[in-house]
Amino acid sequence: MSIELRNISKHYGETRAVDEVSLVVPDEVQVLVLIGPSGGGKSTLLRLLGGLEVPTSGEVLYQGRSLGTEESNLRQFRRKNGFLFQQFNLFPHLSALENVMLPLTKVHDFSAAEAKDRAMSGLERFGLQAHAEKMPAQLSGGQQQRVGLARAMAHQPGLLLLDEPTSALDPEMKAEVLEVIDELCREGQRIILTTHEMGFAKKSGDQLVFLSRGKVIDVSEGTAFFESTDSPEIKGFLEKVMKW
């Protein structure tokens, strides 16, 4: 996907959420996965990669061009991408259909009729046609996340950024959402994902980055999945999460 991070940091007061990270994600990588312990900086790095946050120092290059720090440039970049967070993605005063339509009409300049067609086919694609008119509060957690995905995908984003999209769901709904994400991976969608689902990370990631205390501890390519890592921290982490 052609991303380069040059010595990038993000500080919140005293907290160094991301601390002087440099990383190259080559063009062949279609699915980038960020893993690591809680508080390690995964979400912060994802937000920096997606142009939702301005780095304290350093720069992010996407396909050779710096994202910069100007809000209007960052917004242009965000508009090309799609996001899905852990929860509370949807606007509670709008129906599922209206949620998907809002960015199409207000950001991407579709007419109301075009937007509706597009949104409906997006909802159908994720198995939600029967729920189009429902309000978010009337949907299950898994359905809400799928509506969120339909919204994030409706304008055919260059990059889809997912921040622990299933960690607020029960196992059954988790599976139903991972299924959909897996399908997107297989269709060739470029995805950056943070997750605690190691099985999924292993299966779908082309490149895996292990973050801890704001630092990249190791990067693993292809299917190796840190098998040959020297880091005792990663070994310990994997042992712990694989145990249960």
């Binding site: 997606g50 939702l52 917004r75 965000r78 508009r79 996001f83 967070f85 929860q87 509370f88 993605n89 949807l90 606007f91 509670p92 005063h93 809002l102 960015p103 207000k106 950001v107 309000m135 509060a137 919204r151 994030a152």
Partner: protein, 245 residues
């Protein structure tokens, strides 16, 4: 056990009070003939109260919108100016504001239309309170909504327009309706600058007929007829809001 003792006590105290008041009201020897010539005035006063309140309602929403925008502005001066205004209004009695507004400000401007002076003062007063309700509503929209709005590429003004304000409006509707009921009651103070509203007409009726009960009982009922429906409506909105979330 303690609960049932408590509720029995409440019923007893309130029940006795109601009976006592009812007894006073019913046992009075009414002389409706005495206010016969003034019914027309009372009715026109009631109508005037509706007009003043409705005009002040519309204007107060405008005032509140301005004050809310001022208080939430990214710049210091508008924030400060709005804050000063709100604190002044909340810190002084409405009666004082009416007297100052009319005898000092309006008079020195040579403005003598009592109706509109009254409407303006009332709407400044109600607008200040309403703006606190509006601000609370906007601030109650969680950060996750801003986050989602940014993530789909909305600008700040689009976020206000399509995400924050529509949700805030639902949240502030019950309290705003309650504020409107207050506005109707507060308009009764405009008699001090001789706006011929309901209270003023009742006072004059009383002065001319010496029939105190017959003048003021319709006054209370007339206000209740306006505020009760609003209060019920506001409760229903509150309930609907509770089930939506």
């Amino acid at each position: 056990m303690a609960k049932s003792v408590f509720s029995t006590a409440v019923c007893l105290v309130l029940g006795t009070t109601y009976c006592f008041v009812l007894w006073i009201v019913l046992s009075h020897d009414y002389d409706w003939e005495a206010i016969q010539p003034y019914w027309k005035n009372l009715l026109s006063g009631w109508w005037m109260t509706i007009l003043v309140s409705a005009a002040a309602l519309l204007l107060s929403i405008l005032v509140a919108a301005l004050l809310t925008a001022g208080q939430m502005s990214a710049h210091r001066p508008p924030r400060l100016l709005s804050r000063v205004f709100v604190e002044f209004v909340r810190g002084t009695p409405l009666l004082v504001q009416i007297l100052l507004g009319y005898y000092l400000v309006a008079n020195s401007m040579g403005w003598d239309n009592r109706f509109w002076v009254g409407v303006v003062i009332l709407s400044l007063f109600a607008g200040a309170y309403l703006s606190e309700i509006f601000r609370g509503g906007i601030e109650s929209i969680p950060a996750s909504q801003w986050n989602s709005a940014r993530a789909i590429g909305l600008s700040d003004s689009q976020t206000y327009r399509h995400v924050v304000i529509p949700q805030a409006v639902r949240r502030v509707l019950p309290a705003s309706a309650g504020q409107f009921a207050n506005l109707i009651k507060d308009s009764s103070l405009l008699f001090v600058i001789s706006v011929h509203e309901f209270t003023m007409q009742a006072r004059e009726t009383n002065a001319n007929s010496y029939a105190t009960f017959e003048s003021y009982l319709p006054l209370a009922i007339g206000y209740l007829a306006l505020t009760l429906p609003i209060s019920l409506f506001s409760r229903r909105l509150e309930e609907r809001y509770r089930y939506e979330h």
